[in-house]
Amino acid sequence: MRGGALLAALAAVAALAAAPPLLGEYRTTLLLPVFGYGVALLGLNLLFGYGGLVSFGHAMFVAAGAYAAAVVTGVWRIESFEAVLLAAAAAGLALALPVGALCARYTKIFFGMLTLAFGMLFHSFLFKFYGLTGGDQGMRVRRPTLLGLEFEELDKTAFLVGPYYWYCLAVAALLALLMWRIVRSPFGLALRAQRDNPRKAEYLGVEVRRTRFVAFLVSAAFGAVGGAMLAVPTGLADPELAYWTHSGTLVFMTLLGGFAHFAGPLLGALAYVLLQDWLMSLTPYWRLLLGAVLALIVLACPQGLMGLPALLRARLAARRRRAAAPHPAPAE
């Protein structure tokens, strides 16, 4: 079981590493946001899948990471992407400290609404404080160096589909490994325990509110690092990143992949990006179709794509049982 998961993860990383030359420039560019979103969603799902807390404001941390990237590269003129990622994590934590201290007191719809409210506040801040954030124009994110290398000979696209792609793959893989450790630690167990039964967890010595708060901080840091990774290809940190519909998109991606599985958010990011590209090429009404897909997932496959094999197995088994039964089941 564990060996299987490790093999699958290694195979996925190897396949993604080998993909650019086979896919070509356009499709490789398409895959870039998968890494940033994947990291942000790993963070979101620590709260959602493991903590039972659905944040509808997580785009604020993605935006915080993107703006951190803009400030570090554009204002401070520090080009190192490692510094950008650290600054993004710090910005996410700084924002999450007050927000999380308040939100960690609540659960369910109250938690969701409170995170939504803070997300909208943060969006307003980015939108209105023109002098600081560039308002609706956003802030430019300059091309960073990777491990001190400038790649001057490469044009923007060649940089993105080459070194930047592999760099982001490595960062995403390392952060996935880190998150894998966190969810399998005593802390991860305490987080799942409070999700299932907070009162019982307290009587077993789990500091429920502290556990939620720490999960919120980790989640925010992952969100911000993901945001910084997303901002380099677009070259822009803009307030729409923090808009509440973007928070909704993050939740959608997680549902699409399956919040009950560790790899669900990663698969969700990939599936969403591909699905959106495909639907946009089909019709201008692609948002309508995305909505239909979301409804279909919730109704037919609430465990998302990761839950599909189990769902199909259960359906098949039920059908076989019915076929094997000599008499029809009594009417209910």
């Binding site: 630690s185 299932d196 077993l204």
Partner: protein, 258 residues
């Protein structure tokens, strides 16, 4: 006599004008199994909530192992060494039996906050979980999620996770409610045996089943109208017809003697 593990002095608790507890002085010593009995509304739940640090008394004080625990909360109580199992079964539906026991064992070891330690590689934890599970006969279902267990197994798991805290005192709130009559003595026997093996020094028992109280308790505290009406060794309690009539209704027809 050794000092009391758990002690209240003239504890009172009011809700507005309503007096839920009045002047309750109580001591629990090592080796005792103290049953708290009384009709509905006698203040049993309020007393238990005060004893477990959930409710702050309006008057008087409550100490556990010498520390003031008034309103200390369940986490602090768990750290100090008091565990509580509720009347209604409390489990974590999606956690396996092993994980459920591990939550208590990790808190007891002071390792519950660690973020990068691997649960899977923790041999000491696994040994401890298996040890606790064996006492409660949960070995065969250790890796099944709690939601898939039978009602009786859930009850045992609930209590097993509390035992994983290595408590000094454990409070059992109607441990056999929701269990078939035929199984009640089996569950109680498992619990008392587990308590003995786990080094639990005293048991507090809130119980309606008089037969069980008579069999397993060493002392009975009878509450009525928020006041202690009787605090007697079990034999003396059941010998006093006035007290038993007031607190537990008629005696069971057969004189069950443990």
């Amino acid at each position: 006599m050794s000092p009391p593990l758990l002690e209240t002095y003239r504890v009172g608790r009011r809700y507005g004008d309503f007096v839920a507890l009045r002047d309750v002085t109580l001591r629990v010593h090592p080796g005792e199994t103290v049953a708290i009995v009384g009709p509905n509304g006698a203040g049993k739940t309020t007393l238990v909530n005060v004893l477990t640090g959930l409710l702050r008394p309006s008057e008087g004080w409550v100490r556990f192992l010498g520390s003031d625990i008034a309103g200390a909360g369940p986490v602090r109580l768990a750290q100090l060494g008091m565990a509580r199992a509720f009347q209604l079964v409390q489990v974590f539906p999606e956690l396996t039996a092993a994980e459920t026991i591990a939550v208590g064992a990790l808190a007891q070891a002071g390792r519950g906050r660690r973020m990068l330690a691997s649960l899977g590689a923790d041999r000491a934890l696994r040994a401890r979980v298996e040890e606790v599970a064996a006492v409660f006969g949960l070995g065969p279902v250790l890796h099944r999620p709690a939601r898939e267990l039978s009602q009786g197994q859930k009850k045992l798991l609930d209590v097993a996770s509390a035992f994983a805290l290595r408590p000094t005192v454990i409070l059992l709130d109607e441990p056999t409610s929701g269990v078939a009559t035929a199984d009640k003595h089996g569950i109680m026997a498992t619990l008392t045996e587990a308590a003995r093996r786990a080094g639990v020094q005293a048991l507090l028992l809130v119980e309606h089943d008089i037969d069980l109280v008579e069999t397993y308790a060493t002392r009975v505290v009878g509450l009525r109208g928020g006041e202690v009406l009787a605090d007697l060794p079990v034999r003396a309690f059941f010998a006093d017809e006035e007290v038993t009539a007031a607190l537990v209704g008629r005696r069971p027809a057969r004189g069950a003697q443990g």
